[in-house]
Amino acid sequence: MEAFFSSLVSILFHGLAFGAILYVISVGLSVTMGLMGFVNLAHGVFAMAGGYLMITAMQQLGLPWLPALLLACAAVAAASMLLERLLYARLYGAGELEQVLFTIGLIFVAVAVARLGYGTGPLAAPLPDYMKGQTELLGRSFPTYRVVVIAAERTRWGAMVRAAVDNRAMAQSIGIDTGRLFTITFALGSGLAALGGALGADLLAMTPTYPFEHLVYFLIVVAIGGLGTLRGPFVGALLIGVGDTACKYWMPEFGAFFIYAATMALLLWRPQGLLGRAP
């Protein structure tokens, strides 16, 4: 019983950390897809870019962890604005197929660039020393890193993104430049993805095929949470984070399997996701 409870706490903790990362990455996707109706499969590219750029900033430029992180996010957000204005904006009215093809093309380009720049193997995220230690919490030790991840997620993000979404309703009723709004929202979402990718480099390893490997998970989080909401991906990320960790721990052979099956069942019952608006 003691062992069970202990493993439960461990699963909860690791699951929450995973969920927090998934949330930070996916909330941008949910808002983009809900707000702009754009099927952005390439969202993982921004997360990957955040991770790689942070590592580069730390290793090549010698920056400490926090500035490197912020620099990476800012760089990704800026680059995404450029991409949005030049390419994404042309496809807002286009059909689903065109958007899917375009974003897959983007993934291919990003994967190739990552391979060319960083090689094919996974890249270790060099954590700052103060993060590497263990923290005593509830009588068990957890890697400090993950504690920080969970704490950071709850602070500013909700407020920031909520502001952007609220802005939409206001903007549309007053007729404010929605083009610029889309760009800013997109940049925000991509910046957050970069943040999640960088913070989560420990959990979701930085490899060139990152956008492919984790695409399904990001999409699942958004789809089961419900598109276009902020709480949606939060719930989705929590469920997937904890659920996936639990399944992989207790049923190592069937863990991943269970998540996919559960997603299918849920979407059949409620195609709009748990918190999404009914069609």
């Binding site: 065109e98 291919f108 994967v111 492919f212 052979e253 996919y260 997603t263 299918m264 059949l268």
Partner: protein, 328 residues
């Protein structure tokens, strides 16, 4: 003016075989006689053409955007492999069983996912592929796990045509199967059913408003498409005597999608042109540098979406249109 290919299809068109439609087969025969060293690649191209045709049916004509078609291809491949190892290596039996199995999987999964749309549907197609992949990967006893199944014993076709090491039998085998499947797809596309399928793609709301059983039609098309993909997978197993996890990846779904779009979506022959161009190019270029190949494909996709939605055949059509206008 509608392009040549679409003018032939429809209630006002004509389904008679046009001479240009025999070109692929003439070329295929030419390869057999004049470029025998390319037969193994040729067989793979023929298999991919069949796979692309199956995707064309539901994506190009049905308008169902899926990234999970490899699930049926891989399922067919594994079923063929397992059948050959456990029961009988007869290729024709293998094809029939693979078609049936993949079709059933298509029916079961289609019944479920076709109740959803857009993102949810797309995501479910990914989930299904992942599930089949996990099963193949974990069920090592039956599927060989990540090692796959090697030296799958395939018997001679009809008892007499042995698979030789030059790939001649393999090539002709794939060609024959492709011709049969192509004829099936062509018939469907020209039929009222095919037109109705195009209708559901063009305007789902309107199809309901004219009393069409949209869900049922889509499901039938999806099932047939899955069965065809399964046949293509089985062909791969038969001709290479190997099945591995690579037949069930998201990469493969993405690749066949690229091939189709490259050739030209909504044109049967786009499914021919795309794989040929893609695979021949990959054979030459990817060896040099796989990263630049991936980069190139990515950029090409973006380019196609932005400027050349109809793919190669689309470009040819608009070129032809311009030339026709120029002649006095």
């Amino acid at each position: 003016m509608p392009s040549d290919s679409s003018a032939a299809i429809g209630y006002g068109g004509s389904a008679r075989l046009r001479p240009l439609e025999l070109l692929p087969w003439v070329l295929a025969a030419a390869v057999y006689f004049f470029a025998p060293s390319y037969l193994p690649l040729g067989a793979y191209i023929l298999i991919m053409i069949l796979f692309a045709l199956s995707l064309e049916l539901i994506l190009g004509y049905g308008g169902i955007v899926t990234l999970g078609h490899a699930a049926y291809f891989g399922f067919g491949a594994y079923v063929a492999g397992i059948l050959a190892v456990r029961l009988s290596g007869d290729p024709l039996l293998g094809l029939a069983v693979a078609a049936l199995a993949a079709g059933l999987l298509g029916l079961a999964t289609g019944a479920v996912i076709l109740r959803t749309h857009a993102l949810a549907l797309l995501m479910l197609t990914l989930a299904i592929t992942s599930i089949v992949f996990e099963i193949a990967s974990q069920w090592t006893g039956v599927t060989g796990g990540s090692d796959g199944m090697h030296s799958v014993p395939i018997l001679p076709i009809l008892g007499s045509f042995k698979f030789d090491m030059f790939g001649r039998t393999a090539y002709l085998y794939c060609l024959a199967v492709l011709i049969a499947c192509w004829w099936l797809v062509r018939t469907i596309v020209h039929s009222p059913f095919g037109m109705a399928l195009a209708g559901t793609r063009e305007n789902d709301v309107r199809m309901h408003a004219i009393g069409a059983p949209v869900y049922r039609r889509r499901l039938i098309a999806y099932t047939i498409s899955a069965a065809l993909a399964g046949v293509a997978g089985a062909l791969l197993t038969h001709t290479t005597q190997f099945v591995g996890l690579s037949v069930l990846t998201f990469e493969l779904s993405g690749e066949v999608l690229v091939m189709l779009v490259l050739g030209g979506i909504r044109r049967i022959y786009g499914a021919f042109v795309g794989p040929v161009v893609f695979l021949v190019a990959r054979d030459y270029l990817a060896k040099q540098s796989p990263e630049y190949w991936t980069l190139g494909i990515g950029l090409l996709l973006i380019f196609i979406v932005m400027f050349a939605r109809g793919g190669i055949l689309g470009l040819l059509d608009s070129l032809k249109g311009k030339l026709v206008r120029k002649t006095p």
